[in-house]
Each structure stands twice: as structure tokens, then as C-alpha cells.
């Protein structure tokens, strides 16, 4: 305990006691005016009123749906609250609170509400115009204010200032971004076109290189290297299979694999250039001795690309309409076979024979011209020949 407390009252002790006095209840009262956002400022406010206000703020009332978004935004923002039915807080009410009252009342006008971004822009614009007014007052020049405005706008507008003078900052900023991105796209398109040109040039160069390589390494070299070894191996296999005797030797010689090895050894069949199939050489004789297997990679499949299709002019499914050999011959020949040329009897082979009774009867049913039935041999020889042809017992 010090001497000042024990002594008489003086100015110092009064000041100390004044500062040490517990006025927390008063502060609490004052804090209550600030309140939580979305509530009335006051300590004895009906809770039902708070609830009603919250519902109002959240758009529960018809007719304000258009502004629901901004209402919701404002209701959640600090300082927005309704001040009616609140008794003034007296002298201890903070000055800042009175300003919020003004703002709140101004914002309660729903018709003037807009999106939060526009509100913020308006607020900033008001402040800016105020500054500009102050600047006008100080400079006494309208031209100076305009210059200042232009300088401020230059921060956002840059080279597009004059184009966007009447637009808000966010609009300008958004448009600037669009414009910039558009210009970037233009530049990107320009770059892409350059890249495309470069890629096309590279592709051309690669194709030229491949063509040069193919010219430098002709197919003959490839054939000589790979198929030569294949042919030699096939020859060894063929010889080994031929060396066997007895029943196994017979089976070997009837083997499809043996015939294939024989064809490869004689270079009638070779490995295709892609190495995925066997194919006949272009100069090879007809593949009568080559085993004909029905699988996709068989050499016979590769011949399809070289032989013309005799029925290419016949539509799909039209072959069923050909009920007679004559109709089929007409279709296959492309109407080169006429009905007058068609012979139903195989005696047409016998160009030397005189019309025998049978042939004469047959000729009635055919359209073979009589001018082809010329007898070139004497009658007795013709009789011998006919006896030979028509004698089934002749050995």
C-alpha cells in the first residue's frame, strides 16, 4: 500500500480512480449496438424481430427475388442491419455506428440495390468523385479534373481509355481481359500458323528423307538378304524330309509343309516385305504346287490385288437370278455370249464330223451354224472315228 492511497484525495488519485472504475457494462452496452450482422442494434430487441429481419434479408418476401443474390450478399455483410425500434444509445454511442445507420438505411432501398460488385464500384466512384470535387476546388479548373480522371482511368484502361470512358471499372477490366485474351488468341493463332508451317516443312523433309532411304535401299536388297536365307533354310528342310524313307517318307512327301518348303526353296514363295505373310513371287509359275491354306495371310490373298474380278459388274445378290448356264455365261462375259452362239451338246468339239443322226437331231435343238459342220474327212474315216467316239466299250 502506497502513500497516495492512505493520504487525502487529490487530483492524481481522482484520475486514477476514474480510470480504474469498472465500466465494462457500459462498454458491453455500446458493443451491443454494433451487434452481429443481420441483427437489430440493441440489447432488448425482440428475438422475433431479428428472425423476421433475417427472413426478409434472405429473400423470403415475394417481389424481391430478382435481387436475391445481392440481398443475400448484403445480409451477410457486416454493418447491414435495421435500426428502427432502437433507442439511441446516448452519448456513448460511437460515431462510426451513426454512419452505419445511414448506410443501412440507404441500402434498405431495394430498388436501388444491385450486384455487390456494382455497389462497390459506386462506393468507390462516389469517393472518387468526391476527391475529384476536392481537386476541382483546389485547382479551380474543370480541365484539370478531367485530366486527373483520365490519369486514374489510365490505370485500368491503358490504350483502350477513350473507348471505355462511360463504362464502369469492372466492365472495363473485364473487357480489357477479354480484349487481351482475344489479342493473345490472335497471337496464338498466328503462332499456331507458324508452327503448322514449320511442322509441314518438317514432315516434307522427313518424307523426302524416307524416299531417299527407300531409293538407297531398293527392295531387291531386302529380298536378297532375308528371303535368300529363308530359301536356303527351306532347302535344308526339304532335303531332310526327302531323306526319310518308308511310311514316314511317304507322309513327308504328301505334307503341305513339305510342298511349302519346296516352293520356298525354289523361290516361288517368299516372305512379304512387311514380314507378316508369305506371298508368291511376281514371276513365279502358277501356284499349283503351293499348299493352299485358308488363312488370312496366305499368298493367295495377296493375289487378289492383282487379278481382275470377272464378276465386278454383277451386283451383289444378282447371281441367284442366273438359273441356267447360258444366263451365267452371259453375266460373266458381260453379254459377249449370245444365245445364237450357245451350244447345248458337247458334239461341238467334233468339228470334223458330218451330222450324224444323233448330231442332226441335236443340231435341231441348238443354234450352231451349219457352216461350221464341214466334213473334212472321207466318209469311211469319219465312220471309224464316230464308232471310236461313241463306243463306250472301247479300251
Amino acid at each position: 500500500m502506497n502513500g497516495a492511497e492512505c493520504g487525502p484525495s487529490n487530483a492524481l488519485t481522482k484520475l486514477q480512480s476514474h480510470t480504474a472504475k469498472d465500466n465494462s457494462l457500459q462498454r458491453e452496452f455500446n458493443r451491443g449496438f454494433a451487434g452481429a450482422p443481420g441483427q437489430f442494434r440493441g440489447v432488448n430487441v425482440d428475438r422475433q424481430l431479428n428472425q423476421d429481419f433475417r427472413e426478409f434479408s434472405q429473400g423470403g418476401r415475394p417481389g424481391v427475388s430478382r435481387a436475391n443474390v445481392s440481398l443475400h450478399t448484403y445480409a451477410d455483410s457486416p454493418g447491414l442491419s435495421l435500426g428502427r425500434n432502437i433507442a439511441p444509445g446516448g452519448a456513448s454511442q460511437a460515431h462510426g455506428a451513426s454512419e452505419k445507420w445511414v448506410d443501412d438505411f440507404a441500402q434498405l432501398n431495394i430498388q436501388k440495390r444491385d450486384f455487390g460488385q456494382r455497389h462497390a464500384w459506386e462506393q468507390s466512384q462516389r469517393g472518387d468523385w468526391q476527391k475529384q470535387f476536392m481537386l476541382q476546388q483546389s485547382q479551380q479548373s474543370q480541365q484539370g479534373a478531367m485530366q486527373n480522371q483520365q490519369q486514374r482511368q489510365n490505370q485500368y484502361q491503358g490504350q483502350y481509355m477513350g473507348q471505355y470512358l462511360n463504362q464502369n471499372q469492372f466492365g472495363r477490366l473485364g473487357n480489357d481481359m477479354i480484349e487481351l485474351s482475344h489479342s493473345g488468341m490472335v497471337n496464338g493463332l498466328h503462332d499456331n500458323s507458324v508452327f503448322d508451317d514449320q511442322f509441314k516443312q518438317l514432315e516434307r523433309e522427313l518424307q523426302e528423307q524416307n524416299a531417299e532411304q527407300q531409293q538407297e535401299q531398293p527392295e531387291v536388297v531386302y529380298e536378297d538378304v532375308d528371303n535368300q536365307g529363308f530359301s536356303e533354310a527351306a532347302r535344308d528342310v526339304r532335303d531332310a524330309m526327302l531323306s526319310s524313307s518308308g511310311s514316314t517318307g511317304v507322309k513327308f512327301r504328301n505334307s503341305d509343309f513339305f510342298h511349302l518348303m519346296e516352293s520356298v526353296a525354289e523361290k516361288r514363295v517368299q516372305i512379304s516385305q512387311d514380314g507378316k505373310s508369305l506371298e508368291q513371287r511376281a514371276s513365279a509359275p502358277p501356284a499349283s504346287s503351293v499348299p493352299q491354306q485358308q488363312h488370312p495371310n496366305h499368298p493367295r490373298d495377296s493375289l487378289k490385288h492383282y487379278l481382275p474380278d470377272p464378276l465386278s459388274h454383277v451386283k451383289d445378290g444378282a447371281l441367284d437370278d442366273f438359273n441356267s448356264p447360258l444366263a451365267a455365261a452371259k453375266a460373266v462375259s458381260g453379254n459377249q455370249v449370245s444365245t445364237s452362239d450357245w451350244i447345248m451338246d458337247d458334239d461341238w468339239l467334233d468339228m470334223t464330223a458330218a451330222p450324224t443322226p444323233a448330231a442332226a437331231n441335236a443340231s435341231k435343238t441348238t443354234a450352231l451354224p451349219e457352216r461350221q459342220k464341214v466334213n473334212l474327212m472321207p466318209a469311211e474315216w469319219q465312220e471309224v472315228y464316230d464308232d471310236y467316239r461313241h463306243d463306250d466299250d472301247f479300251q
Binding site: A233, K251, D256, F257, I271, K276, S277, H295, P296
Partner: protein, 374 residues
């Protein structure tokens, strides 16, 4: 006798399902496996005696071997000519459920572990054996069959015997010295592998050992060993088939291990020229496949380039005795194939003696070995 034609595709491998008595998987290749695609057939033997195709899958390259999963009844692994190994599931059409590509050359065999059941092996022309798990994307272990580069012991450089005249003649064209034609798990041990290669070596591996190669000997005098298999009843007895037209039966207990060879002063390739228990002669061409019977200790089946399959049995005594192997002889010959016979297998769940074979004649035959003529 049942048959099925794999039209357009030449058979390479056939195996009965270890889960179903009527399912077969057949690995085939177009153009005799020289060039072209491959196709895997899963066939079903119907009660009316016909064989029907249940599933097929086409592959980019020829398929050389097939192995059913021992742990999943619908899955089957195949080895391909492009160096890949694929696993197909019967319930997943068209595409494989796994595709492994580590081998750099043709994969000639694939074999599932009969004891562990969770892994399988493959052997390739690139001279390696790889251990795989269906659960993993990459191989678990790689064994290098070229013993000279494995540097297991200092004597390895002398393991290669002098090449025969035939080998030297072919060496300029196709070098199959390092080609591992077949590798198969022991049915008695989860980590023991038997393999054979183009330089006539028969090798035994233990995947648990720091130096996996446990045994290495020359089985067929320098000629290629095309197939090998473990006896299903005697853990030390194996068989090997070679291009010397013979099948040889070996008791591994009679052969020196790598460790004992390293300590021996005798030249390595001489000590490893071992003596077989029996030599089965009768095929007229190289023997491509040999497999022991799952029902009899002294019966095996061989498939050969002479277009036949032969069943070899101990005709004197049915007892399971080691000494009985020396009296094994050809029991019968199956002559139906019209081209090389490449694959054969015994039925596990069917009647003892039932077998299947496939070959380059595009045929799969299911037949009873007990009814073969001598």
C-alpha cells in the same frame, strides 16, 4: 478318337485344363509359325463326343505354348513369337487381361507352378527364363541360361562342349545355342525349375538360392534339347527330348551339382556328360515334346517331327521303381497326324491314358493311349 480342326492355324501347344476334364487350350500359329498371326483356342469336349470351340483369341504373332492357370479356372497363359506373354480369361473375349513384354525374342514355353500356383515361368530364344506373377506387371526374376555369362563359378567357361559338325554347319544361319526351348516347374518343389536349351544343356535352377543354377549337364551329346519334363511321382527323375531322335531319362541324384563340380579338378564339360537311366529310341525325327503321365510313374508321351506320337511304358513291371525306367519301351504309336506333331498332353481328370495332341496339320486329336497299336 476325337478331333477338331484349327482351320488356317497350325498347332503348337495343347494342354488339358487342371480344373475341368473336358476343356482344352490350344496355341496355334499361321503359316507354320514362320510368319503371321496366332490364335488361342479353348475347346470343349461335349458329352456326345464332339469337340466344340468355346473361345478364340487372335494375336499379332504366332503362339508357341500354352499353360492353364493353376489358381484360376478361367485363365490361360500363352507365349508368343513376338516375345510377349499374354494371359486370357474365358470371360473376357477378344483381349488379354495381361500382356507381358520383356523377352527380346520368341518365347517358346510357358509353364505354371504346380506347387505355389501363384506364379509361372517362360523361356525364350533370348536365353533367359523369367518368373512371373499374374498380379505383377513385370517379371519377378530373370535367369540367364547362358552359363558362360552367368559367372556362377570359374569353370563355366568350359561348360560348352565342342560343337558337332551339324551345329557348326548351321551356326552361320540360325544360332540356337542360347535358345531355351523349354522350362518347367517341379511338381514337387515350388522353387525348382528344369530347363533345356539349344546347346544340349539340361539345367536345374532353385529360385531361392543366391546363385540359382544348381545343376548343369550336357544331356544329348551336343544336339539341341527341345523338351524336358519332371516325373510326377519321383522328384529326382526327369526326361529330356532332343533332335537326336531320342528321349533320355535322368535321375538327378546321380549327377554332380554345380558346387561339387566347382571343387572338382576334372574339366567341367566332362563331368557333366552324364549317363541317363534310360534312352528311348524309336522316333525317326527330332522329338519336339515329352511329358510324363500324371497317372503312372513309368509312362510318358512324346511328339515328334516324324508326324507321330509315341507312348513309352515300362512293359515289364507296373511298380514304381527307379530301376524300372531302364526297361521302358515304346508301347504304341499314334499315326493320325499328317504334319509335324508339336504339342501333346495327358488328361489329368479323364481316364488314365487319355491324351491330346496337336500339330501343323491343323488338327487336335483326343485319343486313348491304351488303345494304341504297337
Amino acid at each position: 478318337m476325337l478331333s477338331y480342326r484349327t482351320t488356317g492355324y497350325n498347332g503348337y501347344g495343347v494342354q488339358y485344363s487342371p480344373f475341368f476334364d473336358n476343356k482344352l487350350a490350344v496355341a496355334t500359329a499361321a503359316n507354320y509359325g514362320l510368319v503371321g498371326n496366332g490364335r488361342l483356342f479353348v475347346l470343349s469336349i461335349e458329352p456326345d463326343g464332339t469337340i466344340k470351340q468355346q473361345n478364340i483369341w487372335d494375336t499379332q504373332d504366332g503362339l508357341f505354348d500354352v499353360a492353364w492357370s493353376e489358381i484360376h479356372e478361367n485363365q490361360v497363359a500363352v507365349s508368343s513369337g513376338d516375345g510377349s506373354i499374354k494371359i486370357f480369361d474365358i470371360m473376357v473375349p477378344q483381349f488379354p487381361i495381361q500382356n507381358y513384354k520383356e523377352h527380346t525374342k520368341e518365347v517358346f514355353s510357358v509353364n505354371w507352378n504346380l506347387v505355389d500356383k501363384g506364379n509361372f515361368i517362360s523361356s525364350s530364344w533370348d536365353g533367359t527364363i523369367k518368373l512371373w506373377s499374374p498380379q505383377r506387371q513385370a517379371s519377378i526374376l530373370t535367369l540367364h541360361g547362358n552359363t558362360s555369362s552367368a559367372s556362377v563359378n570359374p569353370h563355366m567357361s568350359e561348360t560348352n562342349p565342342p560343337k558337332t559338325h551339324n551345329q557348326m554347319g548351321r551356326s552361320s544361319a540360325v544360332d540356337t545355342t542360347n535358345c531355351i526351348y523349354n522350362a518347367t516347374f517341379s511338381p514337387h518343389s515350388p522353387s525348382t525349375i528344369l530347363s533345356c536349351n539349344g546347346s544340349s544343356h539340361l539345367q536345374v535352377w532353385d529360385t531361392r538360392a543366391p546363385s540359382p543354377l544348381q545343376m548343369d549337364f550336357i544331356a544329348h551329346g551336343g544336339l539341341e534339347v527341345l523338351s524336358c519334363d519332371w516325373n510326377k511321382y519321383q522328384s529326382s527323375v526327369v526326361a529330356s527330348a532332343s533332335s537326336d531322335k531320342s528321349v533320355r531319362i535322368w535321375d538327378l541324384r546321380m549327377l554332380p551339382t554345380i558346387t561339387s563340380q566347382a571343387q572338382s579338378p576334372i574339366t567341367a564339360y566332362r563331368t557333366r556328360t552324364a549317363t541317363p537311366l534310360a534312352q528311348l529310341v524309336g522316333h525317326q525325327f527330332a522329338i519336339r515334346k515329352v511329358t510324363w503321365s500324371p497317372h503312372s510313374a513309368d509312362e510318358l508321351l512324346s511328339a515328334s517331327y516324324d508326324m507321330t506320337c509315341k507312348v513309352w511304358k515300362n512293359l515289364n513291371s507296373p511298380n514304381i521303381q527307379s530301376s524300372s525306367f531302364s526297361t521302358m519301351a515304346c508301347f504304341g504309336t499314334m499315326h493320325l497326324h499328317r504334319e509335324f506333331v508339336i504339342g501333346c498332353d495327358y488328361s489329368l481328370w479323364g481316364e488314365p491314358g487319355w491324351a491330346a495332341s496337336t500339330g501343323w496339320d491343323e488338327q487336335v486329336y483326343v485319343w486313348d493311349s491304351k488303345r494304341l497299336s504297337h
